[in-house]
Symmetry: C2
Subunit: 217 residues, 2 copies
């Protein structure tokens, strides 16, 4: 199914590299200098080979990024005990924790792309904790909503912690009258914790909303 499933090796020279080693080098570049810095040339140089050698391990750059994502996100943690709410909350927190060290990950997931097994495992483990009161479609939608919250916050965090707020501040200084509600909200936000609180607030709302629905049934 996936191109990186290892083929049975027969003759010829032993490969000097590993797909994992390549992906790790690429991830290191992306972590340090952003996804745009990840070029075949650069990654190859970092592992000490020529760029064309990479194509023996990966069909193209698209697939390299897919592998990077798979490795960066990894497998979901084993579902702990507890009710669906604490389990789903932990799931969301864990997923955000995986995105956090890799600001480029959100960018990499934008647009059509191949989907890896780890991504499916994350979906699986989230779906598994939801109670039977919801239909299958509703469970999918619930997971999507939570995942949306994770991605929103992860994406915001990727913009250098408040580049958005900085831009807003700049504009507000000139056009505060055009954006009264924004100005009011921003002046209030300045004095509080970072993205963690934003994440938890949204997450609690979604979980509250799910709880309302579940208990109603």
């Amino acid at each position: 199914m996936f191109f990186w499933e290892e083929r049975p090796r027969t003759r010829g020279p032993k490969p000097a590299l590993t797909l994992d080693r390549i992906a790790d080098a690429a991830i290191a570049v992306a972590d340090a200098e952003g996804l745009a810095a990840v070029t075949m040339q650069r990654v190859a140089a970092d592992v000490g080979y020529t760029k064309m050698s990479l194509y023996r391990y990966v069909p193209g750059k698209t697939e390299l990024v897919a592998v990077m994502l798979e490795r960066a996100i990894g497998e979901p943690p084993v579902g702990g005990a507890g009710d669906w709410r604490t389990a789903l909350s932990a799931w969301a927190e864990a997923l955000l924790g995986r995105y956090a060290p890799h600001p480029w990950a959100i960018e990499a997931t934008a647009g059509g792309r191949p989907i890896g097994p780890n991504e499916l495992s994350w979906m699986e483990s989230a779906l598994a904790v939801l109670p039977g009161g919801l239909t299958g479609a509703e469970r999918m939608d619930a997971v999507a909503a939570v995942a949306g919250q994770v991605r929103m916050i992860a994406g915001q965090a990727a913009t250098t912690e408040g580049e958005l707020t900085a831009t807003i501040g700049l504009v507000l200084r000139e056009h505060a009258d055009r954006f009264p509600a924004l100005a009011a909200a921003v002046s209030d936000t300045a004095t509080r914790g970072g993205q963690d609180q934003a994440f938890r607030f949204g997450l609690e709302r979604i979980l509250d909303g799910l709880e309302v629905l579940i208990q109603r049934r």
Copy 2:
């Protein structure tokens, strides 16, 4: 503040193009062939000039994409009457409606980028409808949660309506035992409406969650 604010013109030849015309051409290309097809060369050819002429109107490609986004999303609709819930729901629906014709828009918002006035206006109009029971920070977080839902669904819709589902189906045929919850949910999803219902489900949960909090105060 923004580079596209028109400078007072003095001497020299009259510009043959308009930033708007350039952006519209670029949007047309992106709508039809994706964001990757938007190159300076291509856009310039479509408006009938050389690529270098575009740099008289826009500092670089990054800014061109920012303008494309601004025009594609446009200004928020005037807030209708009604309680905060129906207003915020309408806001979310309107925003999704703006994303829908432009599948590339989500991709374009990934990663750090300049933020335009229209984007701020959308934030403003959402913040304005939220009741005073919430703090400024909470109002921001609430809007982020709703926006996250919009973006999640818009992003899913951009992947050719079910490319995700198709991939899942493929994998499930081979490894259904590894993903039982996913298999169960998917088989249930197959027989129901498209992304609209997924959007509404998540949105209603978020709004329910907000309502719980607001009424508690």
